[in-house]
Symmetry: D2
């Protein structure tokens, strides 16, 4: 396998990707370049630099991608009111295309011929990473250690670490009760103790939110301003995309908002159980729909709703960089020009309630009752004709086909 000369590894600095780093060096006898991204996972990244150096890595990339993540990935996705399988806000899925893109950019910059990631062979993330890699750079060599090596148990992994002098934090010695993924949009939990879908998760597991029970006893009100389909301000204060989402996370988390317990269908063909916290995203989805309810044409809104599940599946399955996702995005974006205004929300113990919306582009006409005077738009007698012609095909059918 000496055909790989240089590989860019998506490196978190944690135990697993450190083992991968070492394993790549040993197995492929190649140079490893590490890439560590801040997408809001809430961890210090500098330790990753130090660890990489200890493995002799010469080219180390540590990028703060938080603004790009929210602006170019999270917000476009929310323009579609995207939910996978009716409820899931795609917090993990939407981060992978950005990682893949940046990894390929670095590969080009450093002249690497391969990329590697730490996703396992049974999950969705391997697909999302690799469809991104291949879609952006068709000739890239992809290394997925979890599908290749024989470190197929926790014991073997730890033995490998010990054998190669990779430090293992004490709390990593035992099996963690579940695996997690975190970024500025959400944190996920899956596996192990969650594998029985009949068992409720422990309260101790949650990270981004208090439980509704522990949230304050008084509601708070918040106003979100939108421009062209994207949120731009909270309670009148303009914020950058990442700061805005962080602020919503704080508000949501404090008020017990955004938890989800789900059995979902993975792209690789199996069902899995996931638990998610998406405090800010949950608020944002509700607010965006409310903004659209006031400013979007009915048929446009309905068409968006009908295509949303497919758009969601594309993101969930890893097709962010595919032409059909871009094509749908072109349509979604074209619908958002007038989605501007303010939504007022009440947050209280897990509830996000829309209590007001206003917009200079509102299509809600309070004078509709009387706007006959304005331009003759609504004459009640018109409804009779409207109904009669809409009923005609059914009347004929009843008469002729019985």
């Amino acid at each position: 396998m000496s055909d790989v000369k240089k590989v860019v590894l998506a490196y978190s600095g944690g135990l697993d990707t450190s083992i991968i780093l070492k394993w790549l060096q040993d197995t492929y006898q190649c140079e490893v370049v590490t890439f560590t991204a801040d997408i809001g996972q809430g961890e210090e990244l500098e330790p990753a630099r130090e660890k990489a150096r200890q493995f002799g890595v010469k080219e180390i990339f540590i990028d703060d991608l938080r603004e790009e993540f929210v602006r170019e990935f999270v917000f476009p996705m929310f323009r579609a009111n995207t939910l996978y399988e009716g409820v899931y806000l795609l917090g993990t899925s939407i981060a992978r295309p950005l990682i893949a893109k940046r990894q390929i950019e670095i590969a080009r910059q450093v002249g690497a011929d391969a990329v590697a990631h730490g996703a396992t062979g049974k999950g969705n993330d391997q697909v999302r990473f690799e469809l991104g890699y291949y879609g952006l750079e068709p000739n890239i060599r992809v290394i997925a250690p979890w599908r290749e090596w024989d470190l197929t148990s926790r014991e073997k992994l730890l033995a490998y670490a010990d054998q190669h002098g990779i430090p293992v934090a004490r709390n990593k010695r035992g099996d963690s009760p579940y695996s997690t993924d975190r970024n500025l949009l959400h944190i996920s939990f899956e596996g192990r103790v969650l594998e029985d879908p009949w068992v409720e998760p422990d309260e101790e597991m949650f990270v981004l939110s208090v439980s509704p029970e522990r949230a304050p006893d008084k509601p708070i009100y918040v106003e979100i301003d939108f421009e062209g389909g994207d949120p731009v301000a909270i309670d009148g204060e303009r914020l950058s995309p990442a700061n805005l989402l962080a602020k919503l996370n704080q508000l949501g988390g404090e008020n017990g908002i955004g938890r989800l317990d789900l059995v979902e269908n993975r792209y690789v063909g199996m069902k899995s159980r996931g638990v998610y916290e998406t405090p800010g995203g949950t608020i944002l989805l509700t607010a965006h729909r409310a903004m659209e309810s006031l400013t979007l044409d009915r048929e446009v809104a309905h068409l968006k709703d009908e295509l949303m599940p497919r758009y969601a599946s594309l993101i969930y399955n890893g097709y962010w960089w595919a032409p059909e996702r871009k094509m749908l995005q072109a349509m979604i974006d074209a619908s958002q020009a007038n989605v501007s205004g303010t939504v007022r929300l009440k947050l209280y113990k897990g509830n996000v309630t829309v209590v007001g919306r206003k917009s200079a582009k509102s299509l809600f006409d309070p004078h509709i009752a009387t706007f006959e005077e304005d331009f003759g738009a609504y004459n009640q007698a018109d409804a009779a004709g409207f109904i009669k012609l809409n009923a005609l095909r059914m009347r004929i059918a009843k008469r002729l086909q019985g």
Copy 2:
């Protein structure tokens, strides 16, 4: 207009339909048959009989349709996880086709040549009633007094009532602050003080639920059993459809569940603001999705999700009796055979949280990790091929189209 001989009126016994009753007798010089249905609106119906008698009505129909309503209309709709415009549970829409059907049955039974309803000329209900009438009986004559008469203001209505000796309850003298519609699935509020979409409704308005703030401080847990897509028992107790929904309404209402404040798009072309309470339905939707998440094939679930908005629009717009709704229903029903099992929910101050689901038909395989031994279903190496071929078209495109 003496061409109408006998008309079946959907009669609530309230002021408006009493005025209509009298107006029909006067204007059309025809016999009026009244039809009053119990669909769970929570009112005594016998007073309607007495009132109708006072107007000289000879044929009076008072039917308890609650079980049929839930079994034949509400439950089939919930099989599709139906939401109009992403959030609305269609509580009003789903009752209209039943009223229309029964009214036509009565018209045939009593030999009436016309039917009449009390819906106004600007709303959706006129469409729902009349598409039902025409679809079931193409030659029926439809009378919609609100589109015909000149009683176009509250004052004129009251004057007409006084003039014709129609008793007006004191609290009906003034304008009510909003109009409502109630049945076993929900209550709706719209119009008047709600017409400014920026203003939050008063807490006093709500009927079926306490506010989350006033709900108990301790969560309760509830288990719902499903068979073939429909709920059949709560906490192990089998209940008839109507009783089951009533029980869910009670549980939801006590726990502050099911309120919705919405700007929606009417079929007649305008936006309107509605506030709804659907306590039991909100629980049921969450539970049904959870049951499906465990027992439904991925592609079947996704196809249902993609067609759901259209199915919802058909119901909202009044096309329950149309062939395309039946065709979609055939598909939806065909998907539900294995949607059986139990969902465990936590209800707390407005939140409905799925905390467990189990099923003898579960497609969730906890042994997937190891079921290689069983029948060789999952080999991690397969994922590489899966990804490679799914990526192929994108790789070729990148290479050839750049």
Copy 3:
């Protein structure tokens, strides 16, 4: 009805719209502005000017809209491979939005407060015209004489003409055997002798094409060049949109191509039988699909195919100017950037056969068999994994649900 001051009439110069012109002047006591458009109907337009003058019309608009028609309406529609109900190329439907738009522009220019058209009250065209008018100018007053007047029979129309000195060509005295509509894309025939869907139309009826039987006994070959989804040249000769379509009409017509005999569903709720000749459009549809087959991504092509029927219905029903049509168009247009190259066709007695296609943007890779060497794109062993994971959900279901 003296509230109308000035009306812009879509005026053909023929008998019917001449009667309308006079009727408008008499009934509404208003000034009439005539608008006559050349959209390729193959008639002299100057006589319309003279006739209008005879009625005292002062503002007369005669516009050659052929290039705009093809460039801004026909070609965008063909980018979607649009067919209504599987077979109809929408020749009439696609012309109406242009007429409506120009009529509104003129109304603004001359300060008219109303527009009028000559479509009847049972067809689709009234809807197409009026949705265009209203969508572009919400306060416009629309006059549809066929829905208003009492000239409800041929006899009454002719009597009105005679009475008001409107000249009637001899061949217009009797009923024409069918009504027609013609423009650069097609000619349609409907009504009267065609109303029995079991009866084959007479050969004499056809205008734009010879029958396949009378077409030449030798095939001809033609090459069409596309750029960005639109045709730009025939046999290497660049042509303007209108000239290109005219050339295709000639080639198609000479070779018996593009006839269609159809029972279709009108938007107003009834079925009708139409016969169409669309010689150039039939060739263009085949060519465009062939160009896409070589240059479009699979999923993009499939998504277009799934949305096409809805797009076609929008055009058929008159929603060209509606936001949902524009939204779909944005998506369709976004897909066409690489739809460039050349298609070679054989035309022979009604058949249009694709015999070759080539493109600098081709996604067809003849070296796929061996391009393993290139970049490792296709390894047959990958197919096993691809199939295994795609089958997984079905295997689990069979095992667990039986």
Copy 4:
């Protein structure tokens, strides 16, 4: 690889599957059971029995599946007017699920633990076979020799044949100019000389049809009767499904009907060029659409059209036995109850022209013009209201959003 004990091979009796037969015996040291199906490929099957015997095969299955093929697979598919990528009638795709099903039945009957097929690793057929196998029998072992062995060139195959005494017909010594697949619905050609999509195929290639040029100079007329969506008689003569399709093939083939030259998108990710002859199917598609045009509700027809491309992809990709295909089929079948009557067609030199359709279930009402008298169905004034309310949302938008 001695873990396989008995394998059921889809065996044609030809050179390739004979080599596979021998290779399976040698490589897997297992018993081979052969299965040869008559699905209308037009070849003698008894020679396959004799050849199998010569290889020592003890269990030989030769089944005439023609009626089942047409009744249970072809006709259900045609109920949806199924076309892949707008033009392809899926002749190969629709046969694979039947082969897979029968192979699994035989495997169960003879106690085999594996199945094998002769499809290559780059095509769609491997997917179709194997998704069928796995979907019907999740634990089955699948052997795809073309993906496993090293007989990767024509020379190696012939050498293997010679070495093992497998007779090679003289005309099989050289490369055939293309590969073909034939059954009662169609014949396909692909590969080799067809791989340049710019080159027209030779006239000599075609099997089932004369060219339009060589077809008779006189049209013939044919009438097809439908019942419940399926054809049942030709020119008044009731025929079994297979005989009916054979008759249509004869009529179509004689008249130059049903050739198609296509670049298509394979499920495995590449484009390929195929040429097809589907004479009877081409007639049937046209006839079925015409029958539906008279008897199907508009919205039902449109919904079918919108879902058809997805249904077609499911069949093309091999998902016949998947739950989502069955779910769509339930919907399609539910639509066909009234699709009964007669379609009259003209066949002439490649053209299939509908010239008449009639039905006792017709929804075409010739008296629509006057049926006001009947039941007041159509009042031209209704159209004004119909248009006004349909335009309302656009008028409001123009006024408020400009």
